[in-house]
Symmetry: C2
DNA sequence: TGCAAATATATGTACATACATTTAATGTAC
DNA sequence: GTACATTAAATGTATGTACATATATTTGCA
């Protein structure tokens, strides 16, 4: 559906203004789609993203600062997201012996198993971005990188 | 900067997966840019969006349900955003006489004056989306609409 | 050595999101 | 016209974001 209909706005000041609104709206649309997919597993998107970073490091641990550096949203609060994952026993956290300021965060077997389930879900999800052709997807990536130049 | 470098991830599963992450990352980047622009005025993005909808209606009032319908994020809590705006005297709220379940929300002169200031700011902002050519912007809008098909 | 600066993480607070529940008013079926 | 369903908005709670501050540890340098 065209963005004008979605938010019931008849006209935008410019194509640029429309693209700005369209970006925010579509991203939030994609997030909602993804979070609904994950809801039955009791995991939120930020928690999922942290788990994925941890799997990328596994079996090495990650520190909280590494998580912040790699998270999509740099200003979010990695400590508290790890809190939630720890309660669900998807990660462990223990003080690093070399530098006792830092904390080693490790994904557990339970965490790895959960990610495996979610991978399948993700692979089977053919909505959203998958409406595009391969060429359109490449073009979208190029344009987005240019926006952040 | 390419998305791989931004989030320090060397490879994506597919161009589609990369586009998904790129969308969320770039939208959050744009939101941060916009919210920094507005910070000196003590207004958040959702509050700004509600004010804009109210200006679109002015001098007619809007109801809370109309705000929800037109907001970018449909599941957010319009009541509480209106609370914040009311405290700052940017909107007024009073029970509608015809249907006493609904509430008439109206933008004040102070609210209109604030929006006028922000418009100027917005017009002078030539970063982000404005890095694109007009053709790229049109193509971006087309692709985003297709994602939400 | 000793002490200030830097670093890593955690915590506090205001705001927003997501979703369930509550309250009040209205609509509708019988 | 009363009873039940529906609607509009507000409220409660858990999570997350944004940002400031606190605490502990390490580093660096006089």
């Amino acid at each position: 559906m065209k963005i004008e209909e979605e938010i019931k706005q008849s006209a935008f000041k410019s194509e640029y203004h429309k693209a700005f609104i369209n970006m925010l709206y579509t991203a939030s649309w994609l997030e909602l789609e993804q979070s609904n997919l994950f809801k039955p597993f009791g995991i939120t998107l930020p928690q999922y993203n942290v788990l994925r970073i941890l799997r990328g490091q596994h079996p090495k641990p990650a520190t909280v600062s590494m998580l912040i550096e790699r998270m999509l949203d740099k200003t979010s609060n990695a400590s508290r997201i790890v809190d939630k994952l720890e309660v669900k026993e998807l990660v462990t956290r223990k003080q690093c012996p070399n530098d006792r300021r830092t904390v080693d965060v490790l994904i557990t077997d339970k965490g790895l198993a959960l990610l495996k389930e979610l991978d399948v879900l993700d692979d089977n999800n053919k909505t959203g971005i998958h409406n595009l052709t391969e060429e359109e997807t490449i073009e979208l990536n190029r344009i987005l990188d240019k926006v952040r130049q």
